[in-house]
Amino acid sequence: MTGAQSITTRQRGWLSSRRNQERLKLGFAYFICTAIGLIYIFPFYWMLATSLKSDQEVFQWPPAWIPAVLHWENYPAALNYIPFWLYMKNTFIIATLSVIGTVISCTLIAYGFSRIRWPGRDIVFIAYLSTLMLPFQVTMIPLYIVFRNLGWVGTYLPLVVPTFFGSPFYVFLLRQFYMTIPNELSDAARIDGCGELSIFWRIMIPLTKPALFTVALFTFLAQYSAFLPPLIYLTDQKQWTISLGLQMFKNMYGLQWQKMMAASTLTMLPPLVLFFFTQRTFMEGITLTGIKG
């Protein structure tokens, strides 16, 4: 009786100590984060493992957690199933052109919305931002008809040309950066006779390089993984992006999981490599934007 009491008081004592509470909390945090972290990583491992399995191993029970023999030949086989490199090339062309268009247009627009004090600027900016809420589906059909009449369907133009006219989201992001640069700097340059374009080019661009890089990175990734616009506009198989190619692969050879996983692994590789080399930019960008690339 007394023993049990002393245990409970001791326990209460242990728990009421701040340090031990902290410890318990931290232990719990470690446990949950690690468990969920493993769940986050495992699909990647499973993809890789499947991509190196033999046909029998893929469909075996209990599942082979580690392939007995690494079947690297699945990779060249996957690459031959679809014109993988052609689709990669197409994707890179579209993504690169979009990056150029987005960076040029959005920097100019963001400059106009942040560094020049013109009447009505902030109202116009809010109106411009509000177009973010307009679903893509509303403009999708009329734009398709316009591009069709221009003869652009079946070319990269409908995917690339609009990027040269700005995107409210990236304008918003860049504007946030531009606002942090002291006005005195550009005012001083203005007094020294600098034109607006040279202030833009000589002061703003060099000072906001990290922001530009963030925008370029996010645009690239967004275009790399875009699906619906290419699906609508790229009618010729030779122009397909890798996303469209993978989807076709799935529909045609759906049961060859090891090859599908090989193709998926190769498709995921460029963004992941890019991510590992530019982690800092990503982490800074994400806290500013809150969207996925």
Binding site: I109, R117, S243, G290
Partner: protein, 330 residues
């Protein structure tokens, strides 16, 4: 800022500027007004790509889409005015449309809260004095940069009813297996689970915002006897509410437009899509089918406008009920 350059507003502009102004008879006092016109022209010049883009890629299509929604239009022939018929057909007779609305609302009303709550809790855990936080951040962020099509195919394999990883894990744990996306009941929860995997970037947004919560406030609350849950509820949550509100709006809009994952996972070679019993037929999928498979452009435009109105109403509703959002006055 280089030293020695005085801020503009504390020192008068250089003489040259004043000289030029006076050439046009502009008094020093009125100079600011003259400057504003110049700045207006400059500002417009800089944002001109946005103006052109806004007119060509937003205003014009929005107006045309509204017009098409009252027409019968198959692209080949010119649009034929049929009044409200598209809207009537959609609301009265189209079972797939109703199903698509149900499925989409399911994602918005169930998927979105689960997704954001999970991300918030994970951010709280990562905000403890845990070591290797940057490693965890990398792990949770990584899935979100993978291309959606590759992700969807990977999860299609994981969810494979016979040989997939998900059922293998259930079997290994001695649990009954389920059909995942092949089962009309589990298909949407499966997509929500997958969405949590590649939506882990929200954890990082919340984590960044958690680190902005002033420590003094938390310590003050602790001194007043608030426990961890109370501190989270009464201090952390209000301080983070603008960020939470922002993610709610952004994700709500994107959940309403849910397309690629479900399309990739359910589309057949024949062009059919939507999964078992249309349980994965989302709004945009049906819209896409109407527009680009059935070439019912007018019908699809009516759908687009209904979606627009729903999104608008939901956004207004969120803003109207945003009394819980606390804006720090700085």
């Amino acid at each position: 800022m280089p030293p020695g350059i005085p801020p503009f507003h504390t020192s008068p502009p250089r003489m040259e500027v004043m000289d030029i102004m006076s050439l046009f008879g502009v008094q020093a006092k009125r100079a600011s007004r003259g400057w504003k016109w110049k700045e207006l022209a400059l500002g417009i010049a800089f944002i001109s790509p946005a103006i052109i883009g806004f007119l060509a890629f937003t205003i014009y299509p929005v107006i045309m889409s509204f017009y098409y929604s009252f027409t019968d239009y198959n692209i080949l022939q010119s649009p034929l005015w049929i009044g409200l018929e598209n809207y009537q057909d959609l609301i009265k007779d189209d079972a797939v449309f109703r199903k698509a609305i149900y499925n989409t609302l399911y994602m918005v009303l169930i998927g979105l809260p689960i997704h954001l709550t999970f991300d918030f809790l994970m951010a709280l855990l990562l905000n403890t004095r845990i070591r290797g936080r940057s490693l965890y951040r990398t792990i949770f962020y990584m899935p979100s940069i993978t291309p959606i099509v590759a992700t969807a195919i990977l999860w299609l394999w994981i969810y494979n009813p016979q040989y997939g990883l998900a059922n293998s894990v259930l079997k290994a744990l001695g649990l009954p297996t389920i059909g995942w996306i092949a089962d009309p009941f589990w298909s949407k929860p499966s997509l929500i689970f997958m969405g949590m995997w590649y939506g882990g970037n929200t954890i990082l947004i919340y984590l960044a915002s958690l680190q902005d919560v002033p420590n003094e406030l938390l310590e003050a609350a602790e001194l007043d006897g608030a426990n961890a849950i109370q501190r989270t509820w009464h201090v952390t949550l209000p301080m983070m509410s603008p960020v939470i509100f922002y993610t709610m709006i952004m994700y709500m809009i994107s959940y309403f437009q849910y397309f690629t994952e479900a399309w990739v996972m359910t589309a057949q070679r024949s062009g059919a899509a939507g999964g078992p019993l249309n349980s994965l037929m989302f709004y945009t999928m049906y819209l896409y089918q109407n527009a680009f498979q059935f070439f019912k452009m007018g019908y699809a435009s009516a759908m687009a406008w209904i979606l627009f109105l729903i999104v608008l109403a939901a956004t207004v509703l969120l803003f109207k009920t945003s009394g819980w959002v606390y804006y720090r006055s700085e």
